[in-house]
Symmetry: C2
């Protein structure tokens, strides 16, 4: 027993020494990351002074390539170094974006947020204010001042619930200065765009920001832009979103609405129905999580995530239009057609259906496999 | 114009200088990460020599805390440093696990893999062989040698398709040495465990590894263990999985099967039905991805991922038992009960259902929101 204690003591000493070495290396790495941040701040100041864009994909890829090469030269796994540097670069971009968020494309402009008391309204209020814009808010409470609030504005942004969007646009139209840009941020685009073109003779553009009010940075977030009238006059609004880090995707309103039926309505409805069934069966979520592979944790997290959000928002998305409800009814029909396969335990039918769908998905499946494997590794790492 | 060129040249020079500073810092960081890996290898060698566990949660959390403190002291965001260090620590664990994979709990043991030509069989063949075990393979092709192959074995691991598992167990039973451990790796547990207890009078344990043959490391992967008979004699098998980095979750076979009905069958069926509908509607996946928020990319990736895998495997999971088919039929019933709500565009009903489900999900929703937000940030970073 005594010998065993002595040996244990020696192991502890050796392990302690090695751990101290690791700690010393780590302290130097973090000190270098702090130095790096200082230099990045100087780059940001220079870019801001000369109005240069933050995101520089070629420079980022070049930087990653060089670190990968160094990793290979020194016996490190290049994928590991790439992973670390993706995090470092993203942070560098966020640092720069935060400093750029203060810069404004049209510093003198006056912005009216219609529905500015909603969550998205407050989100954009903060963005515009930080960038130095003058911002006014029009809501139900001060609607009687609408005419005065519209006086002299350069941009009116309508962010109100879907079912009142067209009415609000119609009502605000007559008060707008002719040169003011009118835009909306509704998650459907055909009808609001029609309403805007009818209500206002000046520049019009439909926007759909594909993110919610909890998004911490606009970095790489997508904003769909559906042009209405006088694109040149609308351009500064898009430029402002780009400076904040957003990515503008152009589309026509009809295509936008079709795609969002799938991307939003169908997906959220399917998730809703899944959660509804878990409740119906009174499944013990916590016990299933103990048993679960990371990918299950991720998928059940996607379901849970929906129900942490606003019922009203999702009912708006799902019931936005007649076409969407038809799409969802078609989904119910499609899923119920599997009834007989289940009754008969028809494995062969399942397999042949599966193969056909796999062929239809094509190379996307392999890509999805790679992307989701990457994320699962992150999930294992974190929890 | 000339002035503009001169100014541009000066900006380029200044930016170039700062970028060189960043590159020099980065080169030093990567060099330190290589030094760190060398020390980690020495730690691994020491642990291996003395059979110490790799995963040391307290040491990891302590290390993270100290780097967070240093970050705060030097003006860095501690969350950023934690993110970088989670990646560094995971890599350190993988480095150590790879080296430990060579160590064996029972170096003299003889392992028979029944169904060793399947994908999971080949996976475990590689694991056991790397760790220095003697491994034999029994498959359809050499079934006539079964008796001889069972001679002197310490472990028989059955990994064959679900529908033949019980028959194979019945057939192999009489050939097993009385002291050999019999286990299976089927994704259902009640029936195989019953069959094993009946076929073999010695130590029995049911296992379900919750990962597929493409998993690169067993690090933190879950293996469900459902005890059968003589746990003490089975323990070394579980210890071996732990040394490879796996996490053992104990359960009884009935609970396992109930939970897996939800975790695997229901989830995969719902994903299958979603993909089936995308094909039915001939949705343009690539265009939807251009329009998509990171969370949509993630969700559609989960669907695509399913179809990159084996139809046979999924049909086995879905049609594993009568109870599973009943569960899935109940799911079809549950989802179709939303038909009327869609017909009538009954937003109020949707919202009240949504609220009830949200209450039932409870605090899990908030946790899921946090976890998935973390992953979405990783996704934005990567792509």
């Amino acid at each position: 027993m005594k010998n065993h204690d002595i040996q244990q003591h020696e192991i502890d000493l050796a392990l302690g020494g090695l751990r101290n070495e690791i700690d010393a290396i780590d302290a130097r790495i973090v000190a270098l990351l702090a130095d790096r941040q200082d230099v990045v701040c100087r780059v940001a100041a220079l870019k801001k002074k000369h109005n240069l864009p933050i995101y520089h994909p070629a420079r980022e890829e070049d930087l990653i390539s060089r670190r990968r090469q160094q990793a290979m030269d020194t016996g490190l796994d290049p994928d590991f170094i790439e992973e670390v540097y993706r995090a470092v670069i993203r942070r560098s971009r966020v640092t720069q974006t935060r400093s750029m968020a203060l810069s404004s494309v049209r510093p003198e402009a006056l912005v009216l947020l219609v529905g500015g008391k909603g969550e998205m309204g407050r989100y954009f209020e903060a963005c515009f204010q930080r960038a130095g814009y003058r911002v006014r808010i029009l809501s139900k409470d001060n609607w009687s001042d609408a005419h005065a609030l519209c006086d002299g504005i350069d941009l009116a942004m309508v962010g109100v619930p879907i079912d009142v969007t067209c009415r609000v646009i119609r009502d605000i139209g007559p008060f707008l200065p002719p040169q003011a840009v009118l835009c909306d941020i509704t998650s459907i685009k055909v009808k609001p765009l029609e309403a805007m073109l009818k209500a206002h003779a000046g520049p019009v553009i439909g926007l759909h920001p594909l993110f919610g009010p909890t998004t911490s940075s606009l970095d790489k977030q997508i904003i769909v832009a559906t042009p209405g009238r006088d694109n040149a006059a609308c351009q500064w609004v898009l430029d402002q979103f780009s400076i904040w880090g957003g990515v503008i995707v152009r589309s026509d309103a009809g295509e936008h609405d079709d795609i969002m039926g799938i991307v939003q309505a169908l997906r959220h409805f399917a998730t809703f129905a899944f959660g509804q069934f878990l409740k119906r069966r009174q499944v013990s979520l916590s016990r299933t999580l103990e048993f679960s592979s990371p990918i299950y944790r991720l998928e059940i997290g996607m379901v849970g995530r929906l129900f942490a959000q606003d019922a009203d928002l999702y009912s708006e998305i799902i019931f936005a239009s007649e076409e969407r409800r038809e799409l969802l009814k078609d989904f119910l029909k499609s899923i119920s057609e599997n009834q007989e396969m289940l009754e008969k335990a028809d494995k062969a039918l399942f397999q042949s259906e599966f193969q056909k769908i796999a062929e239809w998905f094509g190379p996307f499946s392999e890509q999805a496999m790679r992307e989701s494997t990457f994320l699962i590794d992150r999930l294992i790492e974190r929890f």
